[in-house]
């Protein structure tokens, strides 16, 4: 497969950081604001930002319906922070009218650690990533409160109640993180995503369905 084209949903948020990482890893990055942009991508990143704002902008854009279609067809997708919230099946402490893309069967709590003064950096062990722990930046971050069958949990951290809760999850070609791998200079989670994109491209027999996508070892 040639270098894939990775879209970054550019309605709002830290788009530039994702574009930089994707470029550093040798893939082509494209800002996605309209349906015509989405049509060109092999995989999509939904960045960090304010999930309520991105949701409003998705609702008025021509990207929403084709995005739902591509997700249903198994487009490889990476969501970080706000991206994780948008891709979740259910959201706690969100707005009732917030768009839910429901690309993976998880329930996410927004602002689960508190306000900005509670935002933090830490080192995180992530299943399937070789090498030292990944440096993770959690900014007004969400936490996963429930995972459905078929969702793999790749990393956990303790929530406010002390219980360990998932912060990196994968269901088929959809990968989500509650923190910002794009901010800390470690590209391994993006590389894992590019591997998912390459596998989907190699399957080549058409779109990979979310249920049958092979899992990255």
């Amino acid at each position: 497969m040639n270098a894939p084209t990775i879209g970054v949903l550019a309605l709002q948020g830290d788009v530039r950081e994702h574009i930089r990482v994707i470029g550093d890893l040798g893939a082509r990055a494209l800002e996605v604001r309209r349906a015509a942009d989405l049509a060109q991508v092999d995989g999509l990143i939904i960045p960090g930002g304010e999930s309520t704002a991105i949701s409003v902008l998705l609702g008025s854009s021509d990207v929403l319906e084709p995005l739902r279609r591509r997700l249903a067809e198994g487009m490889p997708t990476l969501g970080t922070c706000a991206g994780m919230i948008l891709l979740a099946a259910e959201v706690i402490d969100g707005r009732p009218d917030q768009e839910r893309l429901a690309a993976l069967d998880i329930t996410v709590r927004r602002n689960a650690f508190g306000r900005q003064v509670d935002s933090f950096e830490t080192d995180l062990d992530i299943a399937g990533l070789d090498g030292p722990p990944l440096h993770a930046v959690f900014i007004r971050a969400p936490l996963v409160e429930r995972v459905g069958p078929g969702v793999e949990v790749l990393a956990r951290v303790a929530g406010r109640d002390g219980a360990a809760r998932p912060v990196v999850c994968r269901q088929g070609p959809v990968l989500v993180a509650a923190f910002h791998p794009e901010l800390a200079g470690d590209t391994r989670l993006h590389q894992l995503f590019l591997d998912v994109v390459a596998q989907a491209g190699d399957a080549e027999t058409g779109p990979v369905s979310a249920a049958s996508a092979p899992h990255q070892q």
Binding site: G13, R34, V117, E121, R140
Partner: protein, 301 residues
């Protein structure tokens, strides 16, 4: 094999990366001034990425005169309770005790703002000593770098708040971004001259020369009143917009808010900016920035 146990490595809060990180998350968004919970809800409904909680918008501060101070904590708490997006609030320039109060209230970003009456004619707040991040205004690159050296995690143009006249914000953005472009062309010896001219630390000037950008996000504030104003400043190189009086002094705040959000995202797409501008109603009346008695943008040192 990576362990699946919860990470028990220490957590560090209030770091540079965490402070600047929230500013990164606000990029491409609109931060709206609101004076009560209802306005905060209008802002959130319209897709604001954050709200600035204050007692009076700059146009009213200008009209009323007197000393403008930090808002009542009860007002800030009411606004915090009304929305799920980040809440910012303003402290007077140099008034670190007001900033301490705002931090204790759990405000997500503190604006050390020239819109309020300055408390110190020489010093700004030492922002490194706070866990909460700060945004500061700047009219030129030297001011921006001095604020960053004091710990600001976000810079915004000052513009001329409360006028609805975009000219000063354009001047400030062009001054900051123009000098950055020139510094990237300078040789290493000239960087010392630039540091002297800008009255800024040479380490920050050298970092600029290498990266071609400020080490923190640069947003626009002061005078944005229409969707086209937002599209203009975004194309000039601003990374997000603060809109103060421009929304709630317009004829239809909910529509103006929504239209400015759309224009900030689709700033290069004139068809979308035209669509959201059509039949929008009256923008805030405004006041030509050259005719105002008090130039707020001249506050700060």
């Amino acid at each position: 094999m990576a362990a699946m146990a919860p990470s028990d490595t220490p957590r560090r809060t209030g770091t540079d990366l965490v402070k600047r990180g929230l500013a990164e998350m606000l990029r491409g968004g609109v931060i709206m001034d609101v004076v009560n919970a209802d306005e905060a809800k209008v802002a959130e409904d319209a897709g604001a990425v954050a709200v600035m909680a204050l007692e009076r918008v700059p146009a009213d501060i200008r009209r009323d005169g007197g000393v403008a101070r930090m808002s009542d904590p009860a007002l800030i708490e009411g606004i915090k309770a009304a929305v799920t997006i980040p809440v910012m609030a303003k402290a007077r320039i140099g008034h670190f005790a007001e900033a301490q109060v705002l931090q204790s209230l759990g405000v997500d970003y503190i604006d050390e703002s020239e819109v309020l009456t300055p408390a110190d004619e020489v010093n700004h707040i030492d922002k490194w000593s706070f866990a909460a991040p700060f945004v500061c205004g700047a009219t030129n690159l030297g001011e921006a770098l001095r604020r960053i050296s004091e710990g600001a995690a976000m810079i915004r143009s000052k513009g001329e708040a409360g006028t609805g006249d975009i000219k000063e914000a354009v001047r400030h953005l062009r001054a900051i971004l123009g000098d950055i472009r020139r510094i990237t062309q300078a040789d290493s010896a000239e960087l010392y001259g630039w540091a002297k001219q800008l009255q800024a630390p040479v380490t920050l000037v050298a970092e600029l020369a290498e990266t071609g950008q400020l080490p923190v996000p640069l947003f626009c504030a002061g005078g944005i009143a229409t969707p086209s104003d937002a599209a203009l400043v975004m194309q000039l190189g601003a990374e997000a917009c603060f809109v103060g009086s421009g929304i709630f002094k317009s004829s239809d705040p909910a529509r103006f808010a929504r239209a400015i959000v759309e224009a900030t995202t689709h700033y290069r797409d004139a068809e979308i900016v035209a669509k959201v501008s059509r039949g929008l109603g009256e923008a805030m009346r405004g006041q030509e920035s050259g005719s105002v008695e008090t130039k707020l943008s001249q506050r700060g040192w």
